[in-house]
Symmetry: C2
Subunit: 158 residues, 2 copies
DNA sequence: GTACTAACGTTAGTCTCACTAACGTTTCTG
DNA sequence: CAGAAACGTTAGTGAGACTAACGTTAGTAC
């Protein structure tokens, strides 16, 4: 083997990701999802929020007040995790949490005026972040992408 | 308000996910990715493997032996996590880990015959799992999906 | 040749997210 | 009226992404 070949050999495959790995949809999904999460968390972090905050506020705005269990079902956040999220939102006066007089097992969660203002801000932040996330795709491709993901999600959640 | 209206009202928005949430690409990505991860981990778990095992074995098969740091770069697995993965693979005699005599900081990791056999099995398992994952999409749509994801990933990793 | 820097393998630890188990309380159902 | 189910809450698990630090070894600059 020549010197050159040896040198080339030393670097051969040093950074290359195997093709069979790179092409797997599951791997692509998890990598892109990780990037997406990082992007969203950084952006939302800058306005003292995280994605769970947005989910809860959007749910309250769109479908009205509800119990913690209801919010849990609407957002997909586990009810055990919901406790902490609502603590954070209540601390910031973005939601109000009061005992339900008609059913004393429950709390009624309501969005506040400040919460609505915050939600509008988050919506703008997220719009920008999604522009960044989907930057390499055309408008038509973005629609296609969202549609494919939606079909996959629907299929795997019945 | 009639009885019926009251009853309907009680269930109003109980399970509905808000539209602005459901349509966000970031949310779709993380949900589909979670489903995908669950599917892959369950399937690989049945043959005593997990996705990191596949990544390392595929990298060894495709680009030959390498140090732990090299494998780390090829697979995207952190070198601190690589230690444990290689312990698991070595325990199962799927790879061999020997000190590099030319550079005593390094270990040289090599895939064994048994490792190659195992990798072939994992490839089949993963093919089936991906069929399940992408079931609602046509062949053309699957290609499109992979292509869109690849472009996003490339863009966000330079 | 001797300092400085960098790379290596390893241990330990952080954070987020998805998810389970168990608890006391309250409400619904048979 | 008894048992099952729903509620909010606390605690804990496990995987994955990621950081910090340590001792050892190798390459680089003077």
């Amino acid at each position: 083997m020549t010197r050159k070949a040896e040198a080339a050999d030393m670097h051969y495959g040093e950074l290359k990701t195997p093709d069979r790995l790179r092409r797997r949809a599951s791997r692509l999904l998890s990598q892109v999802s990780t990037q997406s999460d990082r992007l969203m968390n950084e952006g939302l972090g800058r306005v003292d929020a995280r994605k769970w905050h947005y989910a809860v506020l959007a749910s309250l705005q769109e479908h009205g007040p509800g119990s913690q269990a209801t919010l849990s079902r609407r957002t997909g956040i586990y009810r055990s995790d919901m406790v902490g999220v609502l603590n954070e939102l209540a601390e910031r006066d973005l939601v109000e949490r009061v005992p339900d007089l008609d059913d004393r097992r429950r709390n009624v969660i309501t969005i506040t005026a400040q919460g609505r203002r915050h939600l509008r801000r988050l919506d703008k932040v997220l719009d920008d972040l999604h522009d960044e996330l989907l930057a390499p795709l055309t408008a038509a491709e973005r629609d296609q992408f969202v549609q494919l993901l939606t079909r996959l999600l629907d299929h795997h959640t019945q």
